[in-house]
Amino acid sequence: MSKSWEEINAKIASGEAVVMTAEEFGSLAAAEGVSEAARIVDVVTTGTFGPMCSTGAFLNFGHSDPPIKMGTITLNDVPASGGLAAVDTYLGATEPSTTRGIEYGGAHVIEDLLRGRAVRLKASGPGTDCYPRTEIDTWVTLDDLNQAYLFNPRNCYQNYAVAVNTGDRALYTYLGTLLPRLANATYCSAGALSPLLNDPTYRTVGVGTRCFVAGAPGYVAWEGTQHNPNQQRDGHGEPVGPAGTIAVIADLKQASAEYFSAATMAGYGVSAFVGIGIPIPVLDEDLAATLALTDAELTATVFDYGVQRRSRPALRQVTYAELRSGEIEIDGKRVPTGPISSLPVARRIATELRRWITEHRFTLAPPLQPLPQPGSQGFRPLEIRTEEAI
């Protein structure tokens, strides 16, 4: 059994495509077998909604009269980049406010814009012949901006670590508060719904893939930063730890605060929950076999964040089903688990994407260029060295 992209898109266009979420597909495959499920279903939708720090937006404010070449820029006191053209900026999600610290950051500005709220723009510039103004203090809304688009350099981690802390003091991390002496474990993946776990070797997801980004139709723009296809893999070809990532782009004006939520991680900093959903075409039975995997078959590695080094000790492998049960066992100790990635919202995204395909005839785009494949590139550390040592 095999289907082409063209056949599947023709079915979507005519309203005949059979579309299921990854969870529904897993149930169908368990009941009918993978071959039968692959024959019946044309597209499987995925979804994830977790904090994704490498997120931000390009904004263009338009020109004031007289115009200004913005050098230092703040939005609601959150600094944005002045390193682009006169009235262009990039606002990073994790940038903290100069007045409120990590309680309000770039992600909160983006969420406020999405909610239709006016944001205070302050900027200063050198004053030049073509841009004589040196100061500006005004208010802008999302509607006022010429362009506003999310460009997130790293979203949608293919898998992630499970974090525990064997130390004797609480740790405040990007994976939440880790209680001392193995008193909790946190994890951050949509498991069976996770987009890249449904296409572990990036056969269908690549540059140009159309997808759901924060409620807007968007695209995979490039491999994500720290994309690591060479992570250790299990018998299904699934990575057992953080692996592939994608960079995504989408129009902020079409996005929704329902799928973009600013976050403050205690003692750590600002981040943003970003909703990503990717449709996977059921091209053949090999792909169907990974689409059919459930939380009981997908695993993650437990790392001890009590060791504050680049390489943390791996303690064991656990399945997502174990993690979702609320408790895992480590060294004979029962450790309560808590997720950071929202399962209810991930389900809502996969369902919404299914609706886009069935009702709005959202067709699929084959990759213009594949993501780097397993074996193709490494994941380099940063060495600390002097000029003389180069």
Binding site: G338, I340, S342
Partner: protein, 135 residues
């Protein structure tokens, strides 16, 4: 037996009185101070779990009120803002008494107020600032 969590508000002039001593000695009640914020000459607040016979409990509460202390049941003091919550579940990871959990099938957040000890771990951990403790 009665066991209740009480939210006590002390007027400034009353804030230094050793009320827990009297609750133990005069009313045979078992006080468990879950949280307290008491400073001389300022209004004070105390979250107090009180256990004892129903009669003594009533008498103890009457004593507190007679002392000018505002006594209210504390159950409404923790608030979950559904509009802000994204049901990530991070609060469940820090909730040692197990008051916050995720429903097995739906993954929705379940809050069992009876188990809450008002430790504020969830208030601090919530990345959406969706949990607030009024104290």
């Amino acid at each position: 037996m009665a066991r209740k969590r009480l939210d006590l508000t002390f007027p400034p002039r009353q804030a230094t009185k050793a009320i827990t001593y009297h609750l133990v000695k005069d009313f045979d009640l078992v006080p468990n101070i879950l949280r307290a914020q008491i400073q001389p000459e300022q209004e004070g607040r105390m979250l107090l779990e009180l256990t004892g016979s129903s009669e003594q409990f009533e008498a103890g509460v009457a004593f507190l009120r007679h002392e000018g202390i505002d006594v209210r049941e504390a159950a409404s003091d923790i608030c979950l803002d559904d509009d802000r919550c994204v049901i990530c579940g991070l609060c469940t990871a820090v909730c040692r008494p197990g008051a916050l959990s995720l429903a097995a099938e739906t993954g929705e957040l379940v809050f069992d107020k009876d188990k809450c000890v008002y430790c504020e771990a969830c208030v601090i951990a919530c990345p959406r600032r969706a949990v607030t403790l009024r104290f």
